[in-house]
Symmetry: C2
Subunit: 335 residues, 2 copies
Amino acid sequence: MRIALDAMGGDHGPAPNVGGAALALAANPDLTLVFVGDQGQLDPLLAAASLPAGRVEVVHAPQFVEMKEKPGEALRRKPGASIFRAWQLLAEGKVDGLVSAGNTGAVVAGGVVTRRFLKGVHRPGIATVMPTAKGRCVIMDVGANVFPKPRHLLQYGVMGSVFAKHILNIDRPSLGLMNVGEEEGKGHELVQKTFELFRSSTFTDRFVGNIEGRDIHRGAVDVVVTDGFTGNVVLKLSEGVLEFVVGLVNHEVIGSLQAEREQAQLALKGLLAKYHYSAVGGAPLLGVEGVCIICHGSSKDKAIASALGMAALDVRVKLNEKIVTELETLPGGDE
Amino acid sequence: MRIALDAMGGDHGPAPNVGGAALALAANPDLTLVFVGDQGQLDPLLAAASLPAGRVEVVHAPQFVEMKEKPGEALRRKPGASIFRAWQLLAEGKVDGLVSAGNTGAVVAGGVVTRRFLKGVHRPGIATVMPTAKGRCVIMDVGANVFPKPRHLLQYGVMGSVFAKHILNIDRPSLGLMNVGEEEGKGHELVQKTFELFRSSTFTDRFVGNIEGRDIHRGAVDVVVTDGFTGNVVLKLSEGVLEFVVGLVNHEVIGSLQAEREQAQLALKGLLAKYHYSAVGGAPLLGVEGVCIICHGSSKDKAIASALGMAALDVRVKLNEKIVTELETLPGGDE
């Protein structure tokens, strides 16, 4: 399979993209990578990395979207920027998927503008994987759609379930709706109406109902359904609290030790590396034709490699076909 | 001053309310407590606690609102329940404030039904204090108003600031608007319009703009303004991540130690006790006449005492008068 990599995307420029590519090519023998970016910058990096011959191509795109640029403006002013060029390759069928650590808004905008949605999909959304006390869960949406309609959230539940089943290998994933209390009737109109949609859907037996903020990391459900505003806050707040608590532990717990202080510091560093968002890799934009994985801007080699691996896996298991099939089971799913 | 205590409220019944009252009476010599609850249950507990004579009264209220009851139904079916009786005492001027660890929705509903709002206030909101890497911050609203209007959020910023200044002793508190990105124009219509309101208000020089989920615990601002849906998720998610990370540290860091394992476990327990929500005490419902502090249902003695202390302080510093004065500086603030 062929995956396009937005080689200029991310806070650290092309270096971690090239480094991540080397890891991913080694781990995925069926993978060919198309680097989309500035050829002058990429050529020496690619030469130094000595990537496997015949499995690497470069598509020259001299411009890229800055992290702080507004997506709409970037689309107008730089239609040939690396991320938009990558979407174009996907639209032309020249690649099966794309991976970008660039401006998230631009990645989503590129997808919405360039590609058609999957059959039956009203709006694409971003799914992300979070660690829990029981393993992992999927949260959808975390920022593509900040003011969704109930039917969007219903589809996010379905798409998140298909992802949880085929990528995280969770059989019959349970679904929960992010809310301010467990009781039916809680929250605003969006969640009240979404609750009713789930209850009357073919997914009703997997829908556990409303969940609260504290339930996510307890592992109460496999798929958390929420609007992109709340989901984005959940994602970034989880990062913030993790960093905060690790700082407290370092100061108030490990700081009180003597003999085993160094050992404990090392273990804490390992824990942070394991659970930190930068280690997770990537978040798929689900609901568009082709595979699109969005990485954190601060991604290093390992995170890029993990995102490329996820893109390859999504293609391999034909995730999109399975999403379309599941959406067809919803009443009115293809309207 | 006189504070009513919803003596039946909370997951643990009257015992922690009586225990917390004893601590609060010792710490606040100017405090008189009015226990509102079932006299038959309270009398032996109060006798056993040997509280200072003349500073304790009981108002008999045989019913109370269960934690899972719907507030609206409870209001109709049990108008004499302890929390509504406490609001009535406040409305009649027989107490200066009330504290409850009962059903939060019922506490808010009681306030909205029984009491008038402070001059100029459109909607009351719940403020809560969260620990940060730099000290503490105030988040408002965390659940009273899940679908607010921009003018509500503007007032939450003002009320949260007054609270931060006079209760947390933060001079000229900075304000941030919870959003999905820092750039102006991010998010949905509610936050976009609220952003404009802050920019054109008398608080513009203290308004730092949009903040993201990860900024809260870094201590980026002193007051976080958000809708009650997002704020409630923020509050409960923070609890959940704290518990999750403490669990990980216990297993993956402390579990690897030998000689100093016990010492580290003790320090971690201390950290959890210090930063856990159950230690925070209470969250004020701001914008109503009189003082109202809402406690977590799981509150034990210390948390109840801390909430009673906060109620006493709110009365002492005349927090409501200061809120009204600040709201008058907003254009159209008293409409």
